[in-house]
Amino acid sequence: MSINLDAKVPAGPLRDKWTKTKASMKLVNPANKRKYSVIVVGSGLAGASAAATLAELGYQVMCFCYQDSPRRAHSIAAQGGINAAKNYQNDGDSVWRLFYDTIKGGDFRARESNVYRLAECSQAIIDQCVAQGVPFAREYGGQLANRSFGGAQVSRTFYCRGMTGQQLLLGAYQALSRQIHSGAVKMFPQTEMLDLVVVDGRAAGIVTRNLVTGYVESFSADAVLLCTGGYSNAFFLSTNAAGCNVTATYRAFKRGALFANPCYTQIHPTCIPVAGDHQFKLTLMSESLRNDGRVWVPKKPNDTREPASIPDSERDYYLERKYPSFGNLAPRDVSSRAAKEVCDEGRGVGPGGRGVFLDFADAIKRLGADKVREKYGNLFDIYFQITGEDAYTRPMRIYPAPHYTMGGLWVDYNLMSTVPGLFVLGEANFSDHGANRLGASALMQGLADGYFVIPYTLGAYFADAGGRKVPTDHAEFKKCMAEVTEGTNRLLGIKGKKTPIEFHREVGKLLWENCGMARDKKGLEETIQKFPAIREEFWKNVSVPGSGADFNKALEQAGRVADFIEFGELMCRDALARDESCGGHFRTEHQYPDGEAKRNDEQFMYAAAWEYGGPGKTPTMHKEPLVYEEVKPAVRSYK
């Protein structure tokens, strides 16, 4: 396959690129829009906002999700907030500053033009959500309230208590519901996409399995949008919802879409530590807690005293010590690594010594317990339910956990993948966060992509390419359907001894240890060697009871785990090839004497986009050079 990694970045100064693009794009006239159909896979912030907005414009939309209702997409779980360069606080914020913070936060590994556009769109997102009735927190005078998030020195994060994702998603879900009601969107819940159909090099449709009846079906449209979220569950234990998967994007990868930077994963610093082997997921404590909580560990290793009886002079507030200007709000990758470091030194707290304290005693003294409760009450409740401990009287214990994935399908400026007609939005693409994402910017990106970018770029694609709808009785559709059915039957027929979850745990642990917070050449090479055997064992020994014509969670899991096993290998290959440290990708060989990540701009200033090589074959890497026209990449410092 000849690969054209043209990012289609418009010419001209950064601040004019998007304005000019919009002004000069070809349009589809209103009466013609209904002739075009669009498949939207995913109903999270990216998918729901895109599906609703495209339907409002007049396109025929089909929207799919695996949950029993589009309202339950994983975006619902986002707690802390959403960034926007409104500068309501008069504290020096601007589009430029939000753009710069995001580019710097990503350790100069994102595409400049996309990030600038994201910052530009941020303002309209807040306005749109307010108009939908999203109950953002307000000041007493009735103005919108803001809080601070990691990696920024201004207060630009909008929030709804600790349930910002829920409220933003419900806003988008309600807009989507309105379009379902009017007949402009046909919604398919509990329907999992299991393949992408490509005809004559263009995305022609998808193959799905109904998760209640097992019915395998195909759908065709003029364009396909993947808004299927991230792949943190590759690590098995993560803060993501149980069903989050890489299946949609990985199967598109197998059909020719390039996968960019799979090794860029974010390990969130504030999660509840692992308590035992019974655990199936980890729980995030929002980063907003770091506005008022102070992170510390005992100065002495193996200090098992109760936290309250450790005097201040024997505590190490290590983030405040190492990063005086950002303190407890240092970016996520930096904070996570710092926590790992103190635990590696034997100074960790709690079971297994894998934890650090997040202490609210000072905040309670300063603000009073009521104020703290109003701000964070629901997070303290969650903490209590899980650990049985009261964070008002005893510091929380936290530890980093996989949380977000910056890598994703490669897309150009218009959010189109390397397969024409296949667009990728939200966490599923790779475009905006480089090697590390700043807090409160994923919600922003999902909604920017769905509300404000794709409505323009998709129209331009249609105006240019015309309708391409291929009927589902085309041979390629039949072939893909047969393959999906065969895959399902194969899983059911193995009748082995190990559960899908056992395989998932095994692969997850391997990735966490070798492709998690710290990586090195030897570990990665050894890990890559292990994958073929795991894959082989999986296809010989997995147990999937029950039938395919039925609600069958074990079958769903098995399909997703099979993809995670293959994908884990790709993550490791990417991590191995990127022989530098940047953002969340920390190669222990490349660090400054003080332990900070050491980038190598000369050799690695590119996005690595991987091309599938065929079953059991090594994938090929292609490079998109990252050209910084206006920003000068610098050593990232939060000191």
């Binding site: 339950r72 307010v130 953002f136 309600q174 404000f452 609600f551």
Partner: protein
């Protein structure tokens, strides 16, 4: 943290599909008190799968009490013994060693059983589709600060908006009424300036759709509020009743 394991006797509703008859089946299991309720079911299922037997179907996604996917009736109480928590937030330290635990689906005419503990709650989506939104297309919204909303109003709207659409209110109600669910959305939007233009029609349309979905009427039993994982107050139902009366009096759409 307690380390002793609990020996439990589980009685779980098994039902092959919508049409089939179901029954309670007994299982014995030892678990750590630090396990969550769903992790206990996971462990049971892992065991069944290893033996090549069909696992117990139950649904979940976020496992942190926000997506509203999970939900079973535990010893007669939707979501189980912890107040203000979803099933996935219940931990086994809330049960005694040797306890018999009865686990059943959320039952209601409007929520047919799909399999074992999984029910079809699509009726809730259709209720929202009938009017649970502000009709504003993307683009052209005024500045977010253009219309001030008092802190108190925003907080009150948020209290209502916190509903996760799990359906526990329906499962708890002897009339299988979904009025708490409907009222939470209607009052959230009725409190906010953005919700005013469609206020009357919204209340009427959503209540009518509620009735079409075979949910019963509210007779002020307050069981819904008691089991709501987000502790949504029944005062929203009273507010909904006022909205509904006004909308029928206005007779407009």
């Amino acid at each position: 943290m307690a380390n002793k394991t609990l020996n439990l006797v589980l009685h779980i509703w098994r039902q092959k599909n919508r049409g089939a008859a179901g029954e309670l089946v007994e299982y014995r299991l030892d678990v750590s008190p630090d396990c969550s309720f769903l992790e206990m079911l996971d462990l049971l299922n892992e065991d069944l799968i290893r033996k090549g037997q069909e696992p117990v179907a139950f649904d979940y996604d976020c496992r942190e009490g926000i997506c509203g996917t999970c939900g079973v009736v535990v010893n007669g109480v939707p979501h189980g013994p912890v107040k203000g928590a979803t099933t996935c937030q219940v931990h086994m330290r809330n049960f005694r060693d040797g306890e018999h635990i009865y686990i059943e689906p959320f039952r209601a005419k409007g929520f047919p059983v799909i399999k074992d503990l999984v029910v079809d709650r699509s009726a809730f989506d259709r209720i929202i589709q009938s009017g649970g939104y502000v009709s504003c297309n993307t683009g052209g919204a005024p500045d977010g600060n253009a219309v001030p909303i008092s802190h108190v109003t925003a907080e009150a709207a948020m209290d209502a908006a916190a509903c996760i659409g799990c359906g526990a209110c329906v499962a708890a109600c002897k009339n299988a009424s979904a009025m708490l669910f409907v009222s939470a959305k209607v009052t959230q939007l009725a409190m906010l300036p953005q919700g005013q233009p469609e206020r009357a029609a919204r209340a009427k349309d959503m209540v009518e759709q509620h009735d079409r979905e075979l949910f019963g009427g509210c007779t002020n039993q307050y069981e819904c509020e008691a089991v709501c994982p987000k502790e949504i107050s029944v005062k929203h139902i009273a507010a909904l009743n006022r909205e509904y009366v006004k909308s029928t009096l206005a007779g407009t759409k």
